[in-house]
């Protein structure tokens, strides 16, 4: 008797929990569908040129906000290249910078750091990962941007581009540096974890052959941990891509496509990525054409995030073969 009630209870529990899981799945499905349905009008009226360059993004967004179409164009007219380019620039530069720093830091943490230094570094990494993005943004806009504005951008440089864009320190350099600091702790933790779980005999074999420790690290440990490094990079890219608040604070208010042909000035030109634009334009979500454009930006971010998590999953597969958990 008791056994039978137990089994019924079991089935009930399984069904309830299963229903919750199905509900979550449905919610995600609804989210993807809703975002794409709302984004469709913008993609339909612009076609593939949505992703191309053409005109000033801010003018186009303002035209939608004021419901006065730009002369010769429909109200949905939008060319997103400056925002896409800004996203690409900040993300790629920050990830490359963070990859170099965090690989070196992870090697230091696992191989060279004395026990006492390592104990000090662990809370440091936690701390850097825990600081909210709005605090990073505040430090960027109130401390780093004025510093760069005063010491790195000469007046001659400001005047050389004054007719196109104003340089004030809230720029590509500030955005990239702060973004790199934000994603470094994630990468250090993941890479160090993978380096630490490289089987000891593999490295001992290399050392026994007379190879010095640095070469052993590069040839054996780093090579074994390569899938984990790729996975960490992918995760950090997703984080950098979605960062909105910090970037909307430090990257300058203009949707400007920084031009690499400007030489060094390029580094001091303002950029504004997609996610930051969504935050800044969110008041306009009640205006139909602007809302469609914003949902189109969200759809681009959604697809990129999904592709990245797929890539991360694929990158981790070779690690399973070695039985390394990462």
């Amino acid at each position: 008797m008791a056994r039978r009630t137990g089994r019924r209870e079991d089935q009930r529990a399984e069904r309830t929990l299963g229903a919750l899981a199905v509900g979550l799945l449905a919610l995600i499905g609804v989210m993807v569908v809703i975002v794409f349905v709302n984004a469709w009008p913008s993609f339909r009226s612009n076609g593939l040129s949505w992703f191309g360059p053409g005109g000033n993004v801010d003018t186009q967004l303002r035209a939608m906000q004021e419901s006065t179409p730009l002369p010769g164009h429909s109200i949905e007219y939008f060319r997103g290249w400056p925002l896409l380019w800004g996203t690409l620039l900040t993300t790629v530069l920050a990830v490359v910078l963070a990859l170099i720093v965090s690989t070196l830091a992870a090697i230091f943490l696992t191989e060279f750091a004395p026990e006492r230094v390592r104990r000090a570094l662990e809370p440091v990494i936690r701390l850097l990962a825990g600081v909210p993005s709005v605090v990073y943004g505040l430090i960027g806009i109130l401390a780093l941007a004025p510093l760069i504005n005063q010491h790195l951008i000469s007046n001659a440089r400001k005047q050389s581009v004054a007719y196109v864009v104003q340089l004030n320190g809230a720029d590509l350099t500030t955005a990239t540096l702060i973004l790199a600091v934000m994603i470094t702790p994630i990468m250090v933790a993941l890479i160090a974890g993978a380096l630490g779980s490289v089987p000891e005999p593999w490295r001992e074999g290399s050392v026994a052959l007379g190879v010095n420790r640095w070469r052993t690290i590069v040839r054996v440990s780093l090579r074994t941990a390569r899938p984990a490094i790729v996975a960490a990079t992918v995760l950090a890219t997703a984080r950098a891509l979605g960062e909105a608040i910090m970037l909307s604070m430090v990257s300058g208010g203009r949707g400007f496509a920084a031009n690499p042909l400007d030489g060094l000035t390029f580094l001091f030109e303002p950029v504004r990525p997609l996610a930051a634009t969504i935050v800044q334009q969110s008041d306009g979500l009640t205006i139909a054409p602007l809302a469609h454009t914003i949902y189109a930006m969200a759809a681009v971010l959604l697809v990129s995030a999904a592709l990245l998590s797929l890539a991360g999953w694929a990158a981790k597969q070779p690690l399973r073969r070695y039985g390394i958990r990462a």
Partner: protein, 340 residues
């Protein structure tokens, strides 16, 4: 004195080869070695710089009165009030988010780890949780705004004069925040469940317990600290997120209730949290009162650091593989808000 204490309780450390002189190494290798030292120390310096900077600014502008005054719109920083309402807002949002995410997260993790049938559905749910973890919070926020502006959800926010639903409220922001915390809670619960040895389950079945009661009375109590650390991580994410607040809670500085029902009215109304207060008072926002922003950011940082310390305590020495260097570093990875 403390030296002997640490020696006595130190976990067994993996044996490393004794330090060799690098003098005999080729130049390139020595450069690499020193680069490692430089970056390690540079990271420490950056962290110290951030903490010292926030500490100096925070202490300079923080006054006890700020904690009990309501914010007020004023161009003068001396008259724009304190951040009582934002602190309340942060507490309310965190409470709503955690109350939803904690039971849902534990339940989902239990279903995936202990039942997980049909397998295809379990894989799909796993990737759905991955997707939530990877989606930028702005995207979640504008999705939430669309959902909560639907007519039938009007009871969660307020109706405008023309019958349209506003869609911005503590309820709306809190519920979307729950999505943000969910992957963290699911992650740490699943990882802990996977570490419970099968013999524990078998012993319970042998005593005639059903699966459901094994989960309720044996498995869940044994992983309580891990669930708690997952929840604390989730709370950290909720407290630190700004995008969802600025989009779904509106940007009114003070808590603006709807109607006369005390608690429900507040929850249906709009307000602010510490993060949106900092954002608004930064040069990027409308308030532009840097002193207030620094003070609030300092309080925010202290809150997050306290939660961080809690997670460290909860996870310290929990799992067997903590003793090895790799295990301990993986443990850091597992306890960062972004690595899942």
């Amino acid at each position: 004195m403390s030296e002997t204490a640490t020696v006595a309780t130190a976990p067994p450390v993996a044996v490393r080869p004794p330090r060799q002189s690098t003098a005999a190494w080729p130049l390139a290798d020595r450069v690499g070695y020193w680069l490692c030292w430089t970056t390690g120390i540079a990271l420490c310096l950056i962290a110290v710089a951030i903490v010292v900077f926030m500490l100096v600014k925070g202490v300079a502008y923080l006054r006890p009165a700020l904690f009990v005054e309501h914010p007020a719109a004023s161009l003068q920083q001396s008259q724009s009030g304190g951040f009582l309402d934002p602190i309340e807002g942060t507490l309310i949002i965190t409470a709503i988010g955690t109350l939803i995410a904690a039971p849902a997260g534990v339940a989902l993790a239990v279903w995936i780890s202990e039942y997980g049938r049909p397998t295809a559905l379990a894989r799909a749910v796993e990737s759905a949780i991955d997707v939530i973890a990877g989606v930028p919070s702005v995207v979640l926020a504008i999705f939430g705004l669309l959902v909560f502006s639907e007519g039938f959800l009007g009871f969660l926010s307020q109706n405008a004069a023309n019958g349209a639903v506003y869609g911005r409220s503590f309820f709306a922001a809190g519920i979307v925040m729950a999505l943000l915390a969910l992957p963290l809670i699911v992650g740490s619960t699943r990882e802990a469940l996977a570490q419970v040895p099968d013999r524990v389950r078998e012993a319970s079945y042998a005593l005639g317990k059903s699966r459901a009661s094994t989960i309720r009375w044996v498995l869940l109590p044994s992983i309580r600290p891990d669930i708690a650390s997952g929840i604390a991580l989730g709370m950290g994410r909720i407290i630190g997120d700004t995008a969802i607040i600025t989009i779904l809670l509106g940007v009114t500085l003070t808590t603006q209730g709807v109607g006369s029902t005390p608690l429900l009215g507040t929850l249906r109304g709009t307000g602010s949290t510490l993060t949106s207060y900092v954002y608004n008072n930064s040069p990027a926002g409308e308030g532009n009162a840097p002193q207030k922003a620094y003070a609030a950011a300092f309080v925010l940082l202290m809150l997050v650091l306290a939660l961080n310390a809690l997670v460290t305590r909860l996870t310290a020495g929990r799992r067997s593989d903590r003793a090895s260097i790799g295990g301990r570093l993986r443990a850091i990875g597992g306890s960062l808000p972004w690595t899942r």
